[in-house]
Subunit: 227 residues, 2 copies
DNA sequence: TATATTTTGTGACTTCTTTCACAACAAATG
DNA sequence: CATTTGTTGTGAAAGAAGTCACAAAATATA
C-alpha cells in the first residue's frame, strides 16, 4: 500500500463553493438571475473564469438569459451529492474539537457529526446530543452510521496513529487540524488545515506591504493571493 | 479606494511552511542535514520542487553537501521576519474565538493574541491573561500594541462591518473565519478560511473515490489534490 | 593534483490554469 | 420574420507552475 502525503484541493472546486455562497447571498437579497459577470464581480474573479469553472463541472446556463440562481444552486447540490446526509466523526474533544462539534454550519450543509471520541475518560459524555465516546467504540460507530469522513483534532503527536486507526476502520476522507502532514494510502483523501500557517502567511504579506509602499509592488503582491 | 476580494495564498509559500514543519521534525529526530530529495520525500513533493521553491525565496545550500537544517530554519525565520513578535487581535470570543485564543502554537511562533474583543457584555474579561474588551477599546489597543493583523471570528452577518472597522483603525491583514468573502481595499491582505468548504471538499472527493473503484481514476483524482 | 562522484541551482521544456475572443444561440425589437 | 443585441460556451493564446536535465561546484578519492 503506497503511502503518500496530500494537501490541497483543486482551486476550481473551491471557487465553486465560493460561487455557491455568493449565490445564496444574492438569493436572500431577492435576486433570482445572474450573468457570469454579476457572479464574477461578487466572487472577485473574472467572468471567463466563472464560465470556465461551470464548464468544467458541466453547469449550463441560458444563452443571453444568464443563469437562474435556483437552478445553479440545485445543480451544485447535485454535483456535491448534497441531497443525502453525510455522517462524520470527530476525534479529539479538546479546545478545537468542542468548538467544531458545536458549529451549526456543518449541520446546515447536511454534514452531521454523529459522534466524537477522546482518550481522556473525563471528557466522555455518552448521553449528550453529540456523544463523546471512548476510542474503543470507534469501529462500532463508524460501522453503524456508515461513516466515511472524519475530523482529526487531537494533538500533533497522536494525529498519525489516529489517522491510521480511522483508515483501518474504513474511513476514506480526513480533515486534519493537527499541524502535521499525514501519510495515508493513496485511496484516502486528506485535507490538512494548518491555522498557524494561515495566520503566518498573512503576516508575511503584511510585512511586505508595509515595507514596499509603492503601488506597483502591491499589484504584484495581489497576484500572489488572487483566486 | 478600489475594493477587491482575495482568497488564497501562493502555493510556494505554503510549501515553505510545510518544509519548515518537516525540518523541525527531522531536527527533533536528531537529523541535522538534508538533501533536496530527503526533504522532498518527507514533504511529499519532488526534489526539483524543493530546490525551485528554495530558489524562489533565495535559499541556498551547499553543492554536494545538501542543506544544514539549522541554517535552513534560521533562513526561513529571516524570510518570515519571525525574529520579532507579532501582535494580533481577535474579534469575536464565541466558540471558535475562545478556542483560537487558547491555541498555544500561535505563541510558539511569536504570534501573540494581545487582546480579544466582543460585543456581548457578558463575555468581557478585562483582567484575564488574554483580556476580552468591549469593541469601544479597539482603536486604543491596536494603537498601543501596534497591531497590524487581526483574526475575525464573529458571525457571518457582522464580519464585513468588523473588517471595515479594523481597517479604519490601521489593520493591514485579516484571517477571516466567517463564511463570507470580505471586500477590502487592495492594500489589505485577507485570508478567508472556510472550514465548511474544507470538509465539504473532502466529502466530494470521497464520494468520487467510492463511486469509481478503478485505480486509474484514483490516480487522476490524486492529481487534483496534490501539492 | 587529477579524477570521480554527488548534489545544487537554474534555464529549457512541459503541463496546467487562466484569459481572450468569437461563433453560436436566444431573446428582444421593429 | 429579419435584424439587432447580449450572453453563453469553448477552442486558442497567453501565462503560471512544475518537472527535467545538465552545467557548475564542492567534496571525496586515488
Ligand atoms: N485550539 C485551536 O484553536 C487549534 C487551532 C488550530 C489547530 N489546532 C490543532 O488541533 C489539535 C487539537 O488542539 P486543541 O487545542 O483542541 O488541543 P487539546 O489538547 O485541547 O485537545 C486535544 C484532545 O485530544 C484528545 N486526545 C489526545 N490524544 C488522543 C488520541 N490518541 N485519541 C483520541 N483523542 C486524543 C485529548 O484528550 C484532548 O481532549 C492540535 O493538533 C492543535 O495543534 C488547534
Ligand atoms: N464554531 C466553529 O467551530 C466555527 C468553525 C468555522 C467557522 N466558524 C465561523 O466563525 C464565526 C464564529 O463562530 P462561533 O461558532 O464562534 O460563533 P459564536 O456565536 O459562538 O461566537 C460569535 C461571537 O462574536 C460576537 N460578536 C457578534 N457580533 C460581533 C461584533 N459586531 N463585534 C464583535 N463581536 C461580535 C458574539 O458576541 C459571540 O461571542 C462564525 O462566522 C462562524 O461561521 C466557526
Amino acid at each position: 500500500m503506497k503511502e503518500v502525503t496530500k494537501y490541497i484541493i483543486k482551486n476550481s472546486l473551491k471557487r465553486i463553493f465560493l460561487y455557491r455562497a455568493c449565490l445564496s447571498r444574492l438569493k436572500q437579497m431577492g435576486v433570482d438571475k445572474v450573468f457570469s459577470y454579476t457572479l464574477a464581480n461578487e466572487a472577485g474573479v473574472t467572468p471567463a473564469q466563472v464560465r470556465k469553472d461551470f464548464s468544467e463541472f458541466g453547469i449550463k446556463g441560458n444563452k443571453k438569459g444568464g443563469y437562474e440562481i435556483d437552478e445553479l444552486l440545485s445543480k451544485m447540490e447535485e454535483i456535491f451529492h448534497r441531497s443525502k446526509d453525510h455522517n462524520i466523526v470527530l476525534i479529539g474533544m479538546g479546545n478545537l474539537g468542542q468548538s467544531l462539534s458545536r458549529y451549526s454550519k456543518f449541520v446546515q450543509r447536511n454534514m452531521n457529526i454523529v459522534a466524537t471520541f477522546d482518550v481522556d475518560p473525563f471528557k466522555l459524555k455518552m448521553r449528550s446530543e453529540i456523544p463523546v465516546y471512548s476510542m474503543t467504540r470507534l469501529k462500532e460507530i463508524i460501522d453503524r452510521f456508515r461513516v466515511k469522513v472524519a475530523i482529526i483534532a487531537v494533538p500533533e503527536i497522536s494525529a498519525q496513529e489516529v489517522a491510521d486507526e480511522l483508515i483501518r476502520h474504513g474511513i476514506k476522507g480526513i480533515v486534519n487540524f493537527a499541524p502535521v502532514l499525514l501519510k495515508v494510502p493513496s485511496e484516502v483523501v486528506v485535507n490538512n488545515v494548518n491555522l498557524c500557517d494561515e495566520l503566518e502567511s498573512v503576516i508575511y504579506y503584511v510585512q511586505k506591504i508595509l515595507k514596499s509602499e509603492g503601488l506597483k509592488n502591491i499589484e504584484l503582491l495581489y497576484k500572489d493571493m488572487k483566486y
